[in-house]
């Protein structure tokens, strides 16, 4: 008999027809997922072919091991009821008993035909939700600020200082690298054009105004949004996942005051300094190329710069830095606090936070350009 099969051998089907004309299907071997392996797909067809004969006797006593997958395979071939003639081992009986009692799987949810409208509607509501959330968070911060003015001992100095270091000091490397390269490229391209008109001297005006007024602040803001904004969102999000935010709440420590406020203040302070640093390095990059390409001396460049660029441009750049820094921190914290405790929400929240921050930075820049169009330009 087939009992002497190896312990890991897959199932074997054997059809026997006795003298009185009844046919028997003898199954032997292992009917488990691991044993079946690649044999599973062809077996589905074989079993279905055999099951077409209702008078067939199924002899499963030779099956050494059977698991749920094996049982389901047979059960499906039998069209979900036991065949008329079935021989089973008692320990496998239980598997089929369970299958008989198996609840029907839930029906798949029909797709809504109005989905374009619902999707659009949801997006609008989400936007509204974010807007309200941001306004509420800003309001809360204002209230916190008023409270802290009354209780200066409660100002979270330590958190502010830590954030200042992380978002400011640690960002100096990357902003310097990017600023320098942009300065070099800008100076190189402009000097070639200016040379054609013999207007070499105006390289100082072009570099000065564009870097100090526009490129420095925007570059720094975009880099900081990508770097510090994402880390702020992720930090708050992980705190939500690990229930640290709830732990703070039950201790009576408000999130806005201890987590959001220090970040907003720190980035508000760090950002103009980073802007100053980025602009300075970009100007140095431009200056180096101006010397190589046009032969403008460093001393000449530096002494002409105050005449070419009004000091108002510098204040404008620093002002943009303060506003962008605080807005980036605010948006990052808003998205961070909205993250739900699952991994997908964490990734989505961080992406949305960075994309929104960068977009808003550019919008702020545009607003500044319009509002201060008469300032600092001659």
């Amino acid at each position: 008999m087939p009992e002497n099969q190896g312990s890991n051998s897959s199932i074997v089907l054997r059809r026997v027809t006795s003298e009185d004309g009844t046919s028997r299907l003898v199954l032997a071997g292992n009917c488990t997922l691991t044993a079946l392996g690649k044999r599973l797909q062809p077996l589905v067809g074989e079993l279905a072919a055999h099951a077409a004969d209702p008078e067939l006797q199924w002899d499963l006593t030779g099956v050494t091991q059977m698991d749920d997958a094996g049982a389901v395979l047979l059960w499906r071939a039998w069209a979900e009821h036991r065949p008329r003639h079935l021989l089973l081992q008692p320990e496998h009986e239980r598997l089929f008993c369970r299958l008989e009692k198996m609840p029907a799987p839930p029906a798949p949810i029909a797709r809504d035909r109005l989905w374009p409208i619902t999707v659009l509607g949801k997006a609008v509501f989400l936007l509204w939700d974010h807007l309200i959330g941001l306004i509420a968070l800003s309001g809360q911060l204002l209230l916190d600020a008023m409270y802290l003015i009354g209780h200066p001992a409660r100002v979270p100095w330590r958190e502010i200082s830590a954030n200042l270091y992380r978002t400011g000091a640690q960002a100096l490397g990357i902003t310097a690298l990017v600023g320098f390269l942009i300065g070099v490229v800008l100076s190189f391209l402009s000097s070639r054009q200016l040379q054609m008109f013999g207007a070499d001297i105006f390289i100082i005006n072009i570099l000065g105004v564009s870097v100090i007024r526009e490129l420095g602040p925007v570059l720094a803001a975009i880099l900081v949004a990508g770097r510090s904004g994402s880390s702020m969102t992720a930090q708050l999000g992980v705190m939500r996942v690990t229930e640290e935010l709830d732990a703070l709440t039950v201790m009576g420590i408000p999130h806005s005051q201890r987590l959001v406020m220090p970040k907003v203040i720190a980035l508000g302070i760090a950002m103009p300094l980073v802007v100053l640093w980025t602009s300075a390095v970009a100007l140095i990059g431009g200056m180096v190329v101006a010397e190589i390409q046009l032969g403008l001396g460093y001393q000449f460049f530096l002494s002409k710069l105050p005449d070419a660029v009004a000091i108002a441009n510098l204040w404008l750049g620093l002002g943009k830095g303060v506003v962008c820094g605080m807005v980036i921190a605010l948006i990052s914290c808003h998205f961070g606090l909205r993250i739900k405790s699952n991994t997908e929400s964490l990734g989505e929240g961080t992406t949305n936070s960075v994309v929104t921050s960068i977009t808003v930075v550019i919008i702020i820049d545009a607003i500044f350009a319009v509002v201060f169009s008469n300032v600092g330009l001659r």
């Binding site: 079946l36 690649k38 997958a69 009692k101 029907a104 405790s341």
Partner: protein
């Protein structure tokens, strides 16, 4: 049942985290078909030992073999085959939070690439029934579930491929007594139907007494006792005395006298 060949062999295993030594010279054989309980105080390295057996961590020294084959240095295909024969219930469930309950259980089945969706659907329903979860919860996300349900669904996922070896890390931690009892019954029932080997790390004496054939006790970086519950209790070691013969331990052992002597 107790005298099977070794399904997992641990040989001269040392674990170090930096300068902190967790295990010193651990030797252990998990026999096919048994339930081995791993016991030890907090920080004694129960979970760490289990992670070594799973190949999630590489021991500082020593070897772990699964069915006679070393866990490290295997080719991909063989390792995958070995992994498919193991199921793990992590302490906190480790359900994929981005997938629904249904997809969590279906994932290991889909990864096999031999089963069609129809069979997978039936199997998932069967597994849910096995752990006594109503099918209407199938579409829920893990974040919407209670702790007990997460444990049971994680068990269903661990059992998705009907493994021959099951690792349970604190299976009843965080469950109320009724749910723990139900969990113990569930595992006993599964053992009845399938030739299952279980390695279980636990603090819970009730679970330990009800399920384990043999008990390994970890204390002071070493395995201080290994044997049936009765043998372990008779071993004289301060940790064993305080663990089994404390107020709680005595009461539980008293209630289960029948099991111990039988």
């Amino acid at each position: 049942m107790a005298d099977g060949e070794c399904i997992i062999e641990v040989e001269g295993l040392y674990t170090r985290f930096g300068s902190h030594v967790v295990h010193e010279d651990i030797n252990l054989c998990v026999r096919r078909g048994e339930v081995l309980g791993l016991v030890g105080g907090s920080g004694s390295g129960k979970t760490a030992l289990m992670r070594q057996m799973l190949g999630l961590e590489t021991p500082a020294q020593g070897k772990v073999r699964f069915s006679g084959l070393p866990l490290h240095g295997q080719d991909r295909k063989k390792l995958q085959y070995m992994r498919n024969r193991c199921g793990v219930l992590f302490q906190k469930g480790a359900l994929f939070s981005a997938l629904s309950v249904y997809d969590n259980i279906a994932l290991p089945m889909r990864e096999l690439r031999t089963l069609d969706e129809d069979i997978i659907r039936r199997l998932v329903m069967l597994k849910l029934k096995m752990v006594d979860i109503d099918t209407r919860h199938a579409t829920k996300m893990p974040a919407e579930l209670s702790g007990g349900m997460i444990k049971r669904i994680a068990l269903a996922r661990a059992m998705a491929l009907d493994p021959e070896l099951l690792f349970l890390d604190e299976p009843t931690a965080g469950l109320d007594p009724q749910l723990s009892d139900a969990f113990v019954k569930l595992i006993q029932g599964m053992r009845h139907e399938l030739p299952l080997t279980i390695v279980m790390a636990t603090h819970d004496l009730d679970t330990l007494v009800a399920l384990s054939d043999r008990v390994a006790v970890l204390a002071e970086q070493r395995m201080v006792a290994l044997g049936t519950l009765q043998e372990v209790i008779n071993a004289k070691h301060p940790f064993i005395t305080s663990f089994f013969c404390g107020e709680r331990g005595k009461r539980i052992l008293e209630n289960n006298r029948g099991i111990l002597q039988g």
